[in-house]
Amino acid sequence: MTDADMASPVGDTDAILEFRGVTKSFGGRAPAVRHFTLSVPRGQLVVLIGPSGCGKTTTLRMVNRLIEPTDGSIWLEGRNYKSYNPVELRRRLGYVIQRIGLMPHLTIGDNIAFVLRLLGQAPQARRARASELLEMVGLDPAEYLDRYPTELSGGQQQRIGVLRALAHDPDIILMDEPFGALDPLMREQLQEEFKRLLRTVSKTIVFVTHDMDEALSMADVIVLMKDGAIVQVAPPEEMLRHPADEFVASFMGRHRVLRQASEVSVADVMIASPVMTPEASGLARSLELMRRRRVNSLLVHDAGGHYVGVVRQSELQDHIEAGDQSPVGSLADRTADTLAPSDSGLTAMHQLLSHQQLDSLPVLDADDRIVGLVTRGTLVGLLGDALRVAADVQEIRAEAASAPAGEVAR
């Protein structure tokens, strides 16, 4: 570490927190965090996400010096982390640990105001601040201030864990899976609550999670990590649209698919030249066309190219056998739904999936002219990823469920 390193806050001047080539090795194994470089602009919520053991917690704990980097440097408000006394640094930051970690021997009020006590504030002021914070999350101070942590539900305990990190109004808050121990419903509620809270106070937050839903809903910027290294840094939208590689794409999994289906338009995915026949054509000729093109239904149009309806192979066959001589137009059925080119892939998916008997939907322009066709096959491309992800998940679950049984059998 040279003097220049200590003195010059180069790089992003807007950044309140900066990692420069930070590496952490525990003993002889592969580093837990490798060459981690990241700028966190003031007021942003940055989410660190990645598989278990990828180094999220380690990264977070290097910021408040609970873990010392092996290499590289961290800059807080333009100052090198080494220029801060660790104890004083921690009192300036807010920290929510992965396990809630409330003090069982202290009341809720004393838990929330713990840092204030370390900072030497008077009991009166501490109590007032704790009340204020409890009110912010809709817990009645009169009821909760003097309770003990064991007398609270899991969700309430996690709220207190978060409030505790806010008590001294820190500029930077480090949160390690703050809503981790909650069921999805409760978690969503707390996320909303927390976002509401953040609207009233501007904070810079480094937020660790392994839940992509949570990341997408909270993050200004997502940092995706793998094996201690950053794979991609991007806002949620960009990460969904342009995943850096296979790993990111698969990690975003079903979110990408659903997002894709809703963003893609019918015009993008439809078959642009479906098999059609004029309404005046004969039945046998139409049947022959179907055989040749290997389809089991035909779109029927009038002389002006307007949609008349659809005929199915079975119906056509029945009528030919019965000796029907009328043109194909007389059999055309137009009761089914149609799509517009601007409809989303999600709409198409929804309509097809909700009408079991339909194989396809015609796509019509504003003048009712046929411009294309969306079949179940078309949607398989869109759905494929989602199905694969779902299948993977099921497979993993099945393996997990069968493993202990296998042990017993042996």
């Binding site: 921690r90 003090m103 069982p104 021997h105 713990f114 840092v115 370390l118 505790r164």
Partner: protein, 216 residues
């Protein structure tokens, strides 16, 4: 029946003797125990910070309790301390160390790592961690250790009269020498009452000092 009558008579006729021996017994328990607390608790706290201290400290305390109590008393004489109150107090002190060392260590090390981690993350110093988090949470475990040290010491103290330390034990010895069961009982009954009183008191202290948030 006559035994009880005689014992009762002894109590009424020699209240001063019984009182004196009981008081001696109290000293014989209180002084070594207090010393053991004052030495073992801080030393073990230090051992929770400087881990390599724990082995020797616990090893020594353990050895002291493993030596049969009579042998420990004899040892005091053998190392030249002679007989009387001082060697008895020293032996009792050594004997009381182990449960206190053990429980102090277990109590402090057993504090939920998540709680300690949260405290550290909020910026406690090493001292504050000890005083504001570990001690309050370990206190009831330490008290439980003191309680078992107390029970052991009360039992052992009765033997201390063997090396001339006085106490209720000497009353018992005297009675045995005179083949007088009533005198033996005059020593035994207060010893038993004392043990139960002490035990009751300590269990109450233990309960009061258990943080409300930890009580079930």
């Amino acid at each position: 029946m006559t035994l009880f009558l005689h014992t009762y008579q002894f109590f009424t006729q020699h209240p001063g003797t019984i009182w004196r021996h009981t008081l001696q017994q109290l000293y014989l328990v209180a002084i070594p125990l207090a010393a053991a607390i004052l030495v073992a608790v801080p030393l073990t706290m230090l051992a929770t910070r400087v881990r390599r201290l724990y082995g020797p400290v616990m090893g020594f305390a353990n050895a002291m309790q493993t030596i049969p109590s009579l042998a420990l008393l004899a040892l005091m004489i053998a190392i030249g301390l002679g007989i009387g109150v001082l060697p008895a107090v020293l032996a009792l002190f050594l004997y009381a160390l182990m449960p206190i060392v053990r429980n102090t260590y277990v109590g402090i090390m057993g504090v939920d790592p998540g709680v300690k981690d949260a405290a550290r993350g909020m910026g406690v110093t090493s001292w504050q961690l000890l005083w504001m988090v570990e001690m309050p949470l370990a206190l009831h475990v330490i008290i439980a250790g003191i309680r078992s040290a107390l029970v052991a010491t009360i039992g052992f103290a009765t033997l201390a009269s063997l090396i001339g330390a006085g106490g209720l034990g000497s009353l018992i010895m005297e009675g045995m020498g005179l083949a007088s069961n009533s005198i033996v009982l005059a020593g035994t009954i207060p010893a038993i009452v004392l043990a139960f009183l002490a035990e009751g008191l300590m269990s109450r202290v233990e309960r009061v000092l258990t943080p409300r948030g930890l009580r079930v």
